[in-house]
């Protein structure tokens, strides 16, 4: 009896600590970014030009960069992940299914820097050759690498739900005479959309939070891209670049503003996706 109480307390503490940590981070970020909220500082940061030595500290191009890159990667990775997971769960014969999932499992454990490093030496020169425009360091290059990075996360989370749904629904649907494709289309996918939602949220979190891929591949030009072959700078790469070179000047504070905005983007997208998920619930 006593031990049960202690387990409960331990778990409660763990939950409290992690929630409190997230709140503290937000609090610290807001405190550190506070100097910007006075004396027209906010207008300086929420503008379109980053020329710090001329007093222009705009980080809006980075907000656009972050959104374009992460939403683009998400848009490419989600259908791929759904296809891969459904194929592995329903259509694939056993001898393909397990190696296929093993590879996806393995992909989640490849460090981001490896994707970045290999892309610099392989993907970037290829992009430069294929398109004959720009340097190869571009929104599109980073998007391809990032798609590859978040794909396994989405597949694994989604597949966990699929497996459960499949276990309960398959026999019923087979008895009703569903073919495998129409089983996927009319039973499996609608029943596991909550799992898909969770997977997409997680994938988006990884995409928007990723620093190395964009830092190494996106070119880091602080501007709104005119085409997918232009360079972009994400908020995360901006933080990394500024922290690496500066420490005290006025524009150092723009780093904290970037942090706050990243935090807000995450919250907003989370809420939006949840609402979306709720709206097509039965």
């Amino acid at each position: 009896m006593l031990s049960e109480i202690w387990i409960r307390r331990l778990l409660g503490t763990a939950a409290m600590v992690s929630t409190a940590a997230a709140f503290c981070i937000l609090l610290v970020l807001v405190t550190l970014a506070l100097p910007l909220f006075t004396a027209g500082g906010l207008g300086t940061v929420l503008s379109w030009q980053w020329l710090p030595f001329q007093g222009k500290f705009g980080i809006l191009p980075m907000v656009v960069g972050s959104l374009l890159l992460s939403l683009g990667a998400l848009a490419a990775a989600t259908p791929l992940a759904v296809g891969l997971a459904c194929f592995a769960q329903v259509l694939a014969p056993g001898w393909i299914k397990s190696p296929c999932l093993a590879v996806v499992h393995y992909m989640t454990s490849i460090p981001t820097v490896i994707y970045g490093f290999v892309s610099v030496f392989v993907l970037v020169p290829l992009m430069r050759q294929w398109f004959d425009r720009g340097t190869g360091f571009s929104l599109l290059t980073a998007m391809i690498a990032l798609t590859l990075l978040i794909l396994p996360t989405i597949v694994l989370v989604f597949q966990a739900t699929l497996r459960e749904v499949d276990r309960t629904a398959r026999a019923t649907c087979a008895a009703l005479g569903f073919s495998k494709p129409s089983y996927i289309r009319h039973a499996l996918l609608p029943l596991s959309r909550r799992g898909l939602l969770a997977a997409v949220i997680l994938g988006f979190g990884r995409a928007v939070g990723d620093t190395l891929i964009s830092l190494m591949l996106a070119g880091n030009a602080p501007m709104v891209p005119g085409s997918p072959l232009d360079a972009i700078r994400t908020l995360t790469a901006h933080i990394a670049l500024v922290v690496a070179t500066d420490s005290q000047s006025t524009f150092y504070h723009s780093v904290f503003a970037s942090g706050v905005i990243l935090f807000l983007i995450m919250i907003l997208i989370n809420l939006a996706l949840r609402r979306l998920g709720g709206s097509f619930a039965p």
């Binding site: 880091n220 360079a231 500066d246 005290q248």
Partner: protein, 277 residues
């Protein structure tokens, strides 16, 4: 690329073994009675010098542990200022705010030139300062306009507060902003990789980091090198600093004195920089 690196690393290791066999002392004697750890972080241009000095000191006296990390000039100031490392390296003098906030002491130890670089296969060997300004400002966008092949110029730059950027921007670009579409690279090493991979690239980096994979451009007829930086004919130079919070503790003191000693000067020259004394 990797295997070549691997071989040269092996050779370097072997050479080091051979050199170190008869333990030459002298300037290293100051470490004889010391022990403890020394953490160094900051500017990426400093790393070759710091690593070599650390290696020699640790093989002379294994009771001293020295770690060397990069991060950049900003990280150097921040970490030294908050007492997270003993020595924070910067590729530029500290700003007044930085000195005022952290009470840092600076030790100037080397002069470094910053050179414009291109891909080794680029037929252009030199440009005028005005052409370089035009290229980085985006007024010249094709190599054919600068005596090269008919191809677009790919401009690579560094973040505004980088020490390397600051001197190049101040002394060669005359404080003109770099074209907005330029790729921004995060360190000297990454700049070398980016330019060595792109036949149409132009960038700039610390002379000490330049090797066969990239080609420095002559500016107004002067090829950037250690010699031309010393005699003043190549003007785009800066100083490299080590910084400590307040007075350095004994091991850090000994390390700084060692870098400033005759043997330290040898290490600095071998890394491609010019010792200040």
């Amino acid at each position: 690329m990797m295997s070549k690196n691997g071989v040269s690393l092996l050779l370097a290791a072997l050479a080091l073994l051979l050199c170190n066999a008869p333990a030459l002392a002298g300037d290293l004697d100051r470490f004889a009675s010391l022990e403890g750890t020394l953490d160094i972080a900051g500017g990426t241009a400093h790393i070759p010098v710091m690593n070599e000095a650390a290696k020699r000191i640790m093989s002379f006296n294994p009771k001293i542990r020295i770690t060397v990390a990069g991060g950049g000039t900003g990280i150097g100031v921040q970490k030294a200022g908050e007492g997270l490392v003993d020595i924070g390296n910067t590729g530029r003098p500290l700003s007044e705010e930085e000195v005022a906030k952290f009470g840092l002491q600076s030790f100037d130890f080397a002069i470094d030139g910053v050179a414009p670089i291109v891909h080794p296969e680029n037929p252009v060997n030199g440009l005028t300062a005005q052409q370089i300004r035009d290229i980085f400002a985006g007024r010249i966008t094709r190599w054919s306009a600068a005596g090269g092949p008919d191809a677009a110029i790919h401009v690579y730059g560094r973040e505004e507060a980088s020490g390397t950027h600051e001197v190049f921007w101040d002394k060669l670009l005359k404080k003109e902003p770099i074209v907005a579409g330029a790729n921004i690279i995060q360190s000297n090493g990454a700049m070398k990789v980016a330019v060595s991979q792109d036949a149409n690239a132009i960038g700039y980096m610390s002379i000490g980091h330049i090797d066969d994979t990239v080609k420095p451009l002559a500016v107004d007829g002067v090829t950037p090198s250690q010699e031309t930086a010393v005699d003043g004919s190549y003007p785009v130079v800066r100083h490299l600093f080590m910084n400590t919070k307040g007075d350095p503790k004994p091991v850090a003191r000994a390390f700084i004195d060692y870098i400033l000693s005759a043997e330290g000067a040898g290490i600095i020259s071998a890394a491609g920089y010019i010792p200040v004394r």
